[in-house]
């Protein structure tokens, strides 16, 4: 596949992922929405099926839609290192554009919201207990589960260089959605489960740039955590994969 096509499909898939993922947080966080205060399980399902939609659309490029996945697949020798920068670029651009679209979808509700400083959480993650070391640990562990599943689950063998799926069918990427719902429910409590550097950094840039009414700080001091943690987690999962006994 050409670099241009990889870029386009990853941009589209990550864009849909962030549009829907930032969307569900907007729905729960903002006050004038039908899902306001809808709870954590609503957020988990919103993000899980956002992954389903985004991965389905990015199927031609292997549906990475996550730099930590791309890194893990490269270390595991399933994606050429030469393609890694193209994947990263498509993912970052898509994440930024998806966040802009989510803001447009909720524009009227952003305008009526009464706690503008609280809208940063719609775009990017933050810790409930600030603690750089433990926040990184949490992101490492969550991403480790995701990438280990991608490399080790049944079906992974047939899917070279991408997410495992159910054949070439409409339900193909439902499995990764279930895994992401599970990770969110289980390991998302402390830091909001970025588990994807583009998912956090792209929308954080959008938050910093967009003309959101009375917005607060983009909290750049925390921005490295959801980038470094997931990359370490993805790499560790790939190293585990390389040392495990051949089945």
């Amino acid at each position: 596949m050409s670099s241009g096509s990889i870029f386009v499909w990853e941009m589209l898939g990550t864009g849909i992922l962030i549009l829907m993922g930032a969307g569900v947080v907007a729905n729960v966080v903002l006050k004038d929405t039908l899902g306001s205060a809808g709870g954590w399980l609503l957020i988990n399902f919103g993000w899980g099926f956002a992954v389903f939609a985004g991965a389905s659309i990015a199927a031609p490029s292997g549906a990475h839609i996550n730099p930590a996945v791309t890194l893990g697949l490269a270390i595991a020798d399933k994606t050429p290192w030469s393609q890694v920068p193209v994947y990263f670029a498509g993912q970052m651009v898509g994440a930024f554009l998806g966040a802009v679209l989510a803001w447009l979808a909720y524009k009227a509700q952003f305008d009526t919201h009464d706690n503008p400083a609280g809208t940063r959480g719609i775009f990017c993650t933050g810790p409930t207990v600030p603690s750089p070391v433990w926040n990184v640990v949490t992101e490492v562990i969550g991403t480790f589960v995701l990438v280990a599943w991608i490399l080790l689950s049944p079906g992974a063998q047939e899917t070279e260089g991408g997410l495992p799926q159910l054949g070439n069918s409409a339900l193909g990427y439902a499995a990764v959605a279930f895994i992401v719902i599970g990770i969110g429910a289980s390991l998302g409590g402390p830091t909001g489960y970025a588990i994807n550097p583009a998912r956090d950094l792209g929308p954080r840039i959008a938050y910093a740039i967009l003309p959101i009414r009375d917005k607060g700080s983009a909290e750049w001091g925390y921005a490295w955590v959801p980038v470094v943690g997931p990359l370490i987690g993805g790499a560790l999962a790939a190293l585990l994969y390389l040392v495990l006994p051949v089945v």
Copy 2:
């Protein structure tokens, strides 16, 4: 397939969709029900599996059950333009009849409800923040995700002229249910995610006609938004499909 058969299957499928979809909103909105005040995720699952049931039953006609889907498939050259009016007619009649059935299923609970003016939301959508432009934008974006997924997901290639499915199996249309649950959770907050002109207009007509106790206005001033927005969103998704690189 004959025009008569298309009409019958689309009517049946859209009827089941709206029966269950209006039903879950009735369950949450009315006071004397077991799901009263059951929350947004309950509504998302209700509508999602309503799509599953309706699409499964409308499989012979490709399970459009949504004029925005039919329009997108026609622009993408997957459904003949000559069949489009028949699809629209079946969908509208089915949506109207499904709304009537939902009212009958909840007849006793409509009669004991203490806020009759609030029952319009059981039938048709409305914005949390009235703003015609932004309400249209929200509906465009939500429907764009739905129709883009229909045209681009794995499995779409094998499904000419209809919703992607998992083979000819009972789980066939579970995928589109997951997408609709995701869109509702993510993008349904501002306008109640019509994302389907028939889903909104058919039940709105039913609300206007049915002898519901002390009912309020059908809010015809808003009725164009959930018709125009979804049609634009479906068309934009089809245009994207046409310009994307061949895989």
Copy 3:
């Protein structure tokens, strides 16, 4: 398949269905449980996956586990009328035994519950607004959706005389679970969605017999509604199936 085998598999499958279904209501209704007051969606998922478990185990007999399904399949000429009484008997005995097991699983919690009269709802259904005619209508409509889906969904053609499934696989009956979750969310609000005469009558008999502390009335005056309504709904769905155009 011999009558004895049909009886055994239907008894087992319906027993598991009711054990889990009555179990989830006990979990939500009783006060000393971890799911106490857990909400309608919890009940919907509990019953949905109860159907999944029960149908999976009753696969050899076609997984009817519901007299309304058996009746609909007989009218549609997919199950021999001579087998219908055996199906009914297995379903009723299984439903009774499943309710006894659910009571045993929650025995300590029944003993500490402070509203003994409220425990009838764990076993059998009741209307939020007593109205025999409209309660029947609700049960007719809910069961109609279930049986129409069973007869018309993709995959139904390959499954003679039973529930549609996904091949001979572990996920086989997940589809019917999604349909039942959807029906519960959408149409369960007024009467608690018996949509299955055995599901209601078997546990009602168990409630009347079991030595439950300070129990209340079994409400026999309502018992005909969740028997007659579902049978009518299943029959109507089969009649629709017979008059629809051949695809």
Copy 4:
């Protein structure tokens, strides 16, 4: 498969299971988390998709990840008795390590929690109404459903010596996840559904050993219940399997 490989895959799979399972309880129980007080359905989905992730990763060894499953499969003559101790060992070590990882993921939130004695429930189960006999009965019944489904569901025939799955695909073990979600919703109310001796004993040991701030008792007096109950339940399901008519 060599004993060493069985040990490694069962350890990995059970480790992921407990990491995510203990994780979701931590998310709901601890106060400084995003899922705090998130409800029983959140816990059910967290544990269900924890099983999905763990079983997917342990596919090479048949994905038992539960001594009660291993025992049932041995009695049913599907797993050699000589391998049983290796399975048990891998499961216990994995469960212990998974609990340690869950604690690390929530370390900062453990440190700020204001009810340290209440953290035992994150690791191991306890009854809402202490009653050894009835608590055992509840665990027997819940595990019986799980192992009966494993032995009797469609797809079980093709899966010798392990959990039924959907082919060798990414969605393979989604079915057992749905069953576990159902068991949790339905039968988890009285005792927290250990239904797996390793799931309870491994994390209980971890709780006793880990330097958790102001932690309470590990309640060793109850520890035999979630070991003995599930083993009896798994054995009973296997005995049922052996006496049922051949299909």
